[in-house]
């Protein structure tokens, strides 16, 4: 049995202009210790999917359908206090912008200790000791002093290390990282990513990495999901997706990267923009931008073909592959 299984998840946002479906029919699973990447551009729904797992979709969004099975229990059906035993305990999160993630008026120590005390019977002194240990584990110099500082006294990279330390405090089974390095500088990004990867491997923590950066996905994850306009369009082993993507969108996304074109040449751009979730086109959401579209793409929502962990939602995929 998979550690975490998301089945037919649907998330809606009731807005003034009508109800917006942010996630449609999203299913995926995660095994113990596995690292899964969720890739997509802004508005694709990748962050919503991540937050929906812990029922943390920002208001007024809500989970309107589907199941989130964690060790066989449906998280969507849990009471608040039951959910609390999972949230921040078994499944932890790392947010995008470390400048915004930590509470500015509480010390690092307070924000770490409260986490332990919320989930375990532990004395404040013991919790503090554990917190210092975790700070050391994420290579924060002189953690005994840092623990009593406020977030604004730390640099962005340091703060993200603190956030990672908080995520590791309770020895979780899953860490969901939502663009954990996007807000950081290139050199810091690389360090944080490596740290995160090492810690997950070392502690056998499963990782869901939400990102728009295919390079990061390639470096860190074993399996990847590509999302477009609120739906999964492709899933597969990371290497396979990057080397031979099957969905035209995934192909376009990878080929649009500068490193896929010789310097000075035009990049392979995908025409058009991702549709707003308010008016997703009929049929395949990608068809207006797709070079391979046929008439059927405009009416028919493509079903997934392939196996559970290597699937693609495109009507033309078979033809395309036969042709190759």
């Amino acid at each position: 049995m998979a550690l975490l299984e998301v089945k037919n998840l649907e998330v809606k946002f009731p807005l003034r202009q009508g109800e917006l479906t942010a996630l449609r029919d999203v299913s995926f699973s995660l095994d113990r210790g596995e690292r899964l990447g969720i890739v997509g551009e802004s508005g694709a729904g990748k962050s919503v999917a991540a937050f929906a797992i812990l029922n943390l979709v920002s208001r007024p969004g809500y989970i309107s359908g589907g199941k989130i099975l964690f060790e066989g229990r449906d998280l969507a059906g849990l009471s608040r206090s039951e959910l609390r035993t999972i949230r921040g305990n078994r499944i932890n999160m790392i947010f995008q912008d470390p400048m915004m993630t930590l509470n500015p008026v509480l010390t690092i120590g307070t924000q770490m200790i409260e986490c332990l005390r919320a989930h375990r019977r532990i004395t404040p002194a013991a919790a503090r000791q554990l917190a210092i240990e975790k700070l050391r584990a994420v290579s924060i110099p002189s953690p005994e002093a840092r623990i009593d500082q406020y977030p604004h006294e730390l640099s962005g990279g340091m703060r993200q290390r603190v956030v990672i330390a908080i995520a590791l405090l309770t020895d979780p089974s899953v860490i969901i990282a939502d663009e954990p390095t996007t807000a950081l500088d290139v050199t810091i990004q690389a360090e944080i990513m490596e740290l995160l990867l090492e810690l997950c491997e070392h502690n056998n923590v499963a990782l869901i990495l939400i990102t728009h950066d295919l390079g990061v996905v390639s470096q860190v994850t074993q399996r990847a999901i590509v999302m477009y306009a609120g739906r999964i369009v492709e899933e597969g082993a990371t290497r396979r997706i990057i080397d031979s993507a099957r969905h035209p969108y995934t192909q376009g996304l990878i080929n649009a990267l500068p490193e896929r074109t010789r310097p000075g040449q035009r990049l392979n751009q995908i025409p058009g923009v991702m549709p707003s979730l308010m008016d997703i086109p009929q049929g395949c959401a990608f068809h207006p931008r797709c070079q391979l579209r046929i008439d059927a793409c405009q009416q028919q929502l493509p079903a997934y073909s392939g196996s559970e962990h290597a699937r693609v939602a495109c009507l033309r995929v078979d033809e395309q592959e036969r042709a190759q």
Binding site: S58, G88, N103, V105, C115
Partner: protein, 325 residues
């Protein structure tokens, strides 16, 4: 810390300078001091001689300087009406006003925080809707009207509470307190409610909107993701951040509160500084007006400093002690 101190002192000096200038020009303009001393029957020549003797013909700066020197020593002249030192008269009324402000502040603090927080947490509940509706009505009713309505309802109609004066008071040293007798407390109830009537809805709305903004922040979302208890998220993580702007605004509102004491004290004939001030205005009792202005100026300076200090204590990113370390 140095910057803070210097700025505070600077601000205090500016405030007191403006007040002293204002006071001095009042003194210069209002009523001829000679008339107070001698009658109409004294001849013009004698008047001139007296003027010279009293320094009233000295240059402006010299007169102002003399006024300042005396003022700093606490000598603001005798009240024309009470025939006693004006500062003394004002300070006698100081406790009454302070107790009124204290009562109103307590009401505001005790009600606005819980109501504001509740309304922020449950934006859709019926209680929130009612409170929001009531608060905008509350903001729209002038303090003196609330006061009149309270008197009409609770004193005249129901006869539950006294409508004017302080009731029985007790002297604690030089402080005349109405808080220690049951009668005094009863007398304090209506004026305190009236004084808090505009500020309370204002604070409820302020706390609610600030808190709602804070609840949208990433760090609150992160706190939820950490699996903390709701109470801890609301009352520690969110409330502490909410209070920062509230403290700032609160500091500004202290001035408004003092101003409203004039209205409240007038309606309830509360024997405080505001009531006395208005009487002084009507009687053109210049030294008393000046004394009032100076005391009020000092109150502002002190409270603003205290508010800044509190802000510095709550907000770790403001370091008052920087530079001392």
């Amino acid at each position: 810390m140095i910057a803070f101190l210097i700025r505070r002192i600077g601000q205090a000096l500016v405030v007191m300078f403006v007040i002293s200038l204002l006071s001095f020009s009042i003194q210069d303009n209002l009523g001829d001091p000679l008339r107070e001393l001698v009658g109409q029957s004294v001849s013009e020549a004698e008047r001139q001689a007296l003027r010279d003797q009293m320094g009233l013909n000295d240059p402006f700066l010299a007169q102002y300087w003399r006024f300042l020197r005396k003022a700093v020593q606490g000598d603001l002249g005798n009240s024309y009406f009470f025939k006693r030192p004006a500062l003394e008269v004002i300070m006698e009324k100081f406790p009454a006003t302070m107790e009124l402000v204290l009562g109103a502040t307590l009401i505001i603090l005790l009600l606005s925080v819980p109501i504001g927080v509740y309304c922020a947490i449950n934006p859709r509940s019926w209680f929130t809707r009612v409170m929001m509706g009531l608060s905008i009505v509350g903001i729209s009713i002038p303090v003196f009207l609330t006061a009149i309505m309270l008197i009409y309802l609770f004193s005249i109609h129901l006869g539950w509470l006294p409508s004017y004066g302080r009731g029985e008071t007790v002297m604690i040293g030089a402080w005349e307190s109405g808080l220690l007798t049951w009668d005094g407390v009863l007398h304090l109830i209506l004026p305190s409610i009236a004084l808090s009537s505009i500020m309370l809805p204002l604070f409820i709305r302020l706390i609610r909107s600030e808190m709602m903004e804070v609840l949208e922040q990433e760090y609150i979302r992160f706190a939820w993701a950490k699996g903390l208890q709701r109470r801890r998220i609301w009352f520690l993580h969110a409330l502490k951040n909410t209070l920062l702007p509230v403290i700032t605004v609160g500091g500004v509102q202290i001035g408004t509160m003092i101003a409203y004491t004039i209205l409240t004290e007038t309606v309830f004939q509360w024997p405080g500084m505001g009531f006395l001030f208005l009487e002084a205005v009507n009687r053109v009792d210049t030294p008393l007006i000046i004394a009032y202005l100076i005391v009020v100026g000092l109150i502002f300076v002190v409270t603003n400093t205290v508010v800044d200090l509190i802000y510095g204590l709550v907000n770790p990113t403001v370091k008052l002690t920087r530079g001392l370390a």
